[in-house]
Each structure stands twice: as structure tokens, then as C-alpha cells.
């Protein structure tokens, strides 16, 4: 008990003296998570809406597969991409392994099913009358999709936030595809793993606290956005 408390106190003390490297790792974590979430949003939200509004054969099967993909483990994504990105692999000539791009790619694959599934739920959650009204008013398919997006924006925003949260705190992909290279691919989560391995438990906790604080800040920002956009 006393030891645990000591580690926590030491972690809080270290918070005041976090150096440029930590700021760099934090910036990288934020940047990578933002980029991969943006990509997953761009691909996942339209797909989710199309799945939610569309009527076609195999829809139920597709939805089931999508939900199964939510359980995709990060190490598996990491491993499959590793074999693809290694210079012996399919995409070897691009030399992407151990680069920030590789992490974004992995995080994109991690976030995509989640964002899509939540966007699907958001689209289905919009009052069907909205869609019918739009259709009666002569709206085309695109117009209907945009109306649904506007009507369910809170839920769609929640999908984006969930995607961000999933990738921001993720460590397996960043470690396997980024390689934890200092000043290049060392994110906050891989730094926590490294410091723990070195026995610097308080520093690991301090970094974890920073990560939590930033995640909280991002969520507050989204909450603020959501309030502002509510009519």
C-alpha cells in the first residue's frame, strides 16, 4: 500500500518536470490519432450511413461481420501489417515499417469498424420520418444522406470521439509498426511501456496521467462542439 502511494506521489512530482521529449511524444500521439480518426471518419461515416439507410441483400451478414471486426485485436492488425510493410513484404518498396505512416495505417484499420458500426447505429437512430419527409420533398439519395447526417450529428460526433479514444490509448500497433523510435515514432503509450520495462514506474504513471488529461481535453472539446451545433 505504502509503495503504491509512493509511486503515485512520485508520478505527480514528475508531472512538473516533463521534458521536451514527452511533449514530442504527446504531440505525435495526438497527431497520429487525429489523422487516423479523420481517415476512419471519412471512410466509416459514409459507409455507416449507406449501411444504415440502404436496403439490399446481405445487409444483415455485412452488419454482423462489421460487429465481429470490433473485436479485432491490435496485435493481429500489427502483425498482418508488419508482414505487409516489411521490406520483404507486399508493400516493402515503400519502406513504411517503423514510420509514423505505418502507425496511422494500423490505427485507421483499428478505428474503421468502430466508427462505421457507430455511424450505422446513428443513421438507424434518426427518426425514419426525417428520411420520409426529405423523400416526399423530392430529395435525392445524397440529399437524404446529408439530412440524416445533420439530424443525427450528435450521435455521429460520438462515433468519431469513440474512434479517437480507441486509437489514442492504443499501444500494440504503435509498438509493432512504429518500433518506439525516440523522436520519430515514440508515442506516449509506447513510452509508458518502455519506462515500465525499465522499472521507472512513476514516470510511466506520470505519462499515463498526461495521456488521460489530453483525452479528457479532447472529449471536452467535442462536447463543446456538440453543444454549439445543437439548434
Amino acid at each position: 500500500m505504502r509503495w503504491t502511494l509512493e509511486q503515485l506521489v512520485e508520478a505527480l512530482r514528475l508531472l512538473g518536470s516533463l521534458d521536451r521529449q514527452v511533449i514530442g511524444a504527446l504531440g505525435l500521439s495526438l497527431g497520429l490519432a487525429t489523422l487516423s480518426t479523420a481517415l476512419a471518419t471519412a471512410a466509416g461515416v459514409p459507409t455507416g450511413i449507406a449501411l444504415g439507410l440502404g436496403r439490399f441483400r446481405g445487409k444483415r451478414l455485412l452488419t454482423t461481420v462489421l460487429h465481429a471486426l470490433l473485436a479485432l485485436p491490435t496485435v493481429l492488425i500489427g502483425l498482418v501489417l508488419y508482414t505487409a510493410l516489411s521490406s520483404r513484404g507486399l508493400l516493402g518498396p515503400w519502406r513504411l515499417l517503423y514510420s509514423p505512416t505505418a502507425i496511422v495505417l494500423g490505427q485507421f484499420i483499428l478505428a474503421l469498424p468502430l466508427v462505421t458500426a457507430l455511424a450505422l447505429a446513428a443513421a438507424e437512430g434518426v427518426d425514419p420520418r426525417v428520411r420520409l419527409t426529405a423523400l416526399t420533398l423530392g430529395a435525392g439519395r445524397w440529399r437524404v444522406a446529408r439530412t440524416v447526417l445533420a439530424e443525427g450529428r450528435g450521435a455521429f460526433l460520438a462515433a468519431v470521439v469513440a474512434g479517437f479514444g480507441r486509437v489514442f490509448g492504443e499501444v500494440g500497433i504503435s509498438m509493432m509498426l512504429g518500433g518506439n523510435i525516440r523522436g520519430y515514432t515514440r508515442t506516449v503509450t509506447t513510452a509508458v511501456a518502455l519506462e515500465t520495462a525499465k522499472g521507472h514506474v512513476p514516470l510511466g504513471i506520470a505519462l499515463g496521467l498526461v495521456l488521460m488529461a489530453v483525452a479528457l481535453g479532447v472529449n471536452l472539446l467535442f462536447l463543446h462542439l456538440r453543444r454549439r451545433t445543437d439548434p
Binding site: 505525435l28 495526438l30 517503423y98 450529428r153 523510435i181 525516440r182 520495462a197 525499465k198 522499472g199
Partner: protein
């Protein structure tokens, strides 16, 4: 209204992206255009956790990076993984410590220009009470025999690293196949493995550098030392550019030249934690012993 939402989200995303500095190429030392002979092309160094976790590379690499004009990207893994990265062409140069595995690596043509860099030794650590009586052992094999006889907990790296390979060769010498609930395979780096040993009140084999670097955070005691039988030799190897034409061969050789140069070797010799030397340089031996210690100096 909706357009404004989209604009705000885009703005928020781009601000955090800009803040992360993601858009620009990595430039660890300064943001100015690289001017050294490396012309900005990074060197990928795959190395063992013992060289990176101890802080040696933080001392050894920055002067080189400044001169070379490009960063060295360090991937710290076990020696087995590092050699595999070299085979796959996912690293340009390796700093590793498993002589037999390195020789196999060289024999299959995966590497070129292997040079000894430095050495230290492995040692057996364990709980201070030493329930298996390891401290009085006569040889490394005897240490393991005593541990096995007492069924005292023993934590192995279990990760195909240089230290793990050393441990396995010692079990072989002792004619024991370690198995049972007392034999734990951590599957992690040296530091993490020592932490497991500490928690389990177990024995373990460690390289001296990692043990010294973590000593003040560990209750484990050094119990058996034998620098000759437990020598730990580090070598640097360039990935064969004939096998992997994309490898940064010039960078690999420049880095090898730096760590084996008198200046680089002095940095290694001067690197201390708590007053103790972690690694002893080997590439530039004193004149009177030249040829006696470095394999490449032999005819």
C-alpha cells in the same frame, strides 16, 4: 449551421495536427536542412535492449547524428529479433550480442563487416537469502544445477535474445532441460524480466549493464559472477547491401566506423552508472594487447 460544424471540426483537427509537427520530416537535432554526408537519410539501427535501456546510445549517437546530418532510428529488441530485422532488410545495421547466432547470420550472407565493439559479462542474480546456495557454486553449470535441484524459481528471458541464447547454452552445458513450475519464461526485455524475478523472488541471468542501470530499483543481489565463462560480447554488423539494395549501407558503415573509432570507444569506456563501468571497449585495444583480444586482429 452544419457547415460551421464541419469547419470547426476541420479546424480542430488541423490545429492538433500542426501542433504535433507531423507534417515535417523528423529532425531530432535541429530543423535546419541536413548538411552532413548522410544528406538527411536516416540509419535504421536494430539493437538489444541492454544498449538502449541503459542510456549508452543516448551518449554515443548524438555526436554521430550531428556529423552525419541525419537521425539514427533505434529499434531496441532482443538479439534474435534484431537479426531477423536485418535478414528482412528492415534495418541497416545491427548492434547485437550473440556470437553464435551472429556467425550463422554472417555465414548465410545476410551481413557484412562484422566488428567487435565492446564487452562486459553476464551474472546470476537472485534473492539475497539465496535459498539454492548459488553463491558457492563452482561454475555456471553448477549454478543452474543447484537451482534445478532446489526447484527454486528461475526467470528466463524466453525471447530468443542474446541473454536468452546464453542461458540456454548454459542449461545445455549443465545437461538439464529446465521445465516445471519453477521455470518461468517472461518473454520480455531484460529490465522487465528482472522486475518479474524481483516479484517472484526468483533467480535470473542478466547482462551486467542492465543490472547496474536498474540496481537501485531492485532488491535482487548479484550472486554468481564469472567474467570469463560468462563473457558478453557485442558486435556491429552491416546488413549485406547485395541482399538488400535498399539498405542504407553507407550509413551503416559510417555508424560502425564511429562506434569502433577511438572517439566512439572512449565514450563507451567513459559511460558509467553509479561510478561503475557498464561496457568495456574492444575495438581499439591498447597497443600491447592488440591481437590478443580482437578476433579481427588475428591473422
Amino acid at each position: 449551421m452544419r457547415r460551421r460544424t464541419v469547419a470547426t471540426v476541420v479546424l480542430a483537427l488541423s490545429v492538433s495536427l500542426a501542433a504535433s509537427g507531423l507534417g515535417c520530416r523528423p529532425a531530432p537535432e535541429d530543423a535546419s536542412a541536413p548538411s552532413g554526408p548522410g544528406q538527411g537519410r536516416p540509419i535504421r539501427l536494430a539493437t538489444t535492449t541492454s544498449t538502449d535501456n541503459t542510456g549508452l546510445l543516448d551518449r554515443l549517437l548524438p555526436p554521430f547524428e550531428r556529423w552525419w546530418g541525419a537521425p539514427v532510428h533505434v529499434v531496441a529488441v532482443g538479439t534474435g529479433r534484431a537479426l531477423q530485422l536485418g535478414r528482412n532488410g528492415d534495418a541497416d545495421v545491427l548492434l547485437v550480442h550473440a556470437p553464435e547466432a551472429e556467425e550463422a547470420f554472417m555465414a548465410e550472407g545476410a551481413g557484412v563487416n562484422r566488428r567487435s565493439v565492446m564487452f562486459n559479462d553476464f551474472l546470476f542474480v537472485g534473492p539475497k537469502e539465496d535459498p539454492a546456495g548459488v553463491a558457492g557454486a563452482g561454475s555456471p553449470a553448477d549454478v543452474l544445477a543447484r537451482i534445478a535441484r532446489a526447484q527454486a524459481p528461475f526467470v528466463s528471458r524466453g525471447d530468443d535474445s542474446g541473454t536468452h541464447k546464453m542461458e540456454l547454452s548454459l542449461w545445455k552445458k549443465a545437461n538439464i532441460a529446465p521445465a516445471g513450475s519453477w521455470y518461468l519464461e517472461a518473454g520480455q526485455g531484460m529490465g522487465a524480466t528482472l522486475l518479474v524475478a524481483e516479484e517472484k523472488r526468483a533467480y535470473g541471468l542478466t547482462d551486467r549493464a542492465t543490472f547496474l542501470a536498474m540496481r537501485d530499483r531492485l532488491a535482487l543481489a548479484p550472486l554468481y559472477e564469472n567474467p570469463e565463462a560468462l563473457a558478453n560480447l557485442y558486435s556491429i554488423i552491416a546488413v549485406n547491401p547485395a541482399v538488400h539494395p535498399g539498405a542504407n549501407y553507407l550509413g551503416a558503415m559510417a555508424l560502425a566506423a564511429w562506434v569502433t573509432s577511438p572517439a566512439g570507444q572512449r565514450i563507451i569506456a567513459d559511460f558509467r552508472i553509479g561510478g561503475e563501468t557498464l561496457f568495456r571497449p574492444l575495438a581499439v585495444p591498447p597497443a600491447e594487447t592488440a591481437g590478443a583480444r580482437t578476433p579481427e586482429a588475428a591473422p
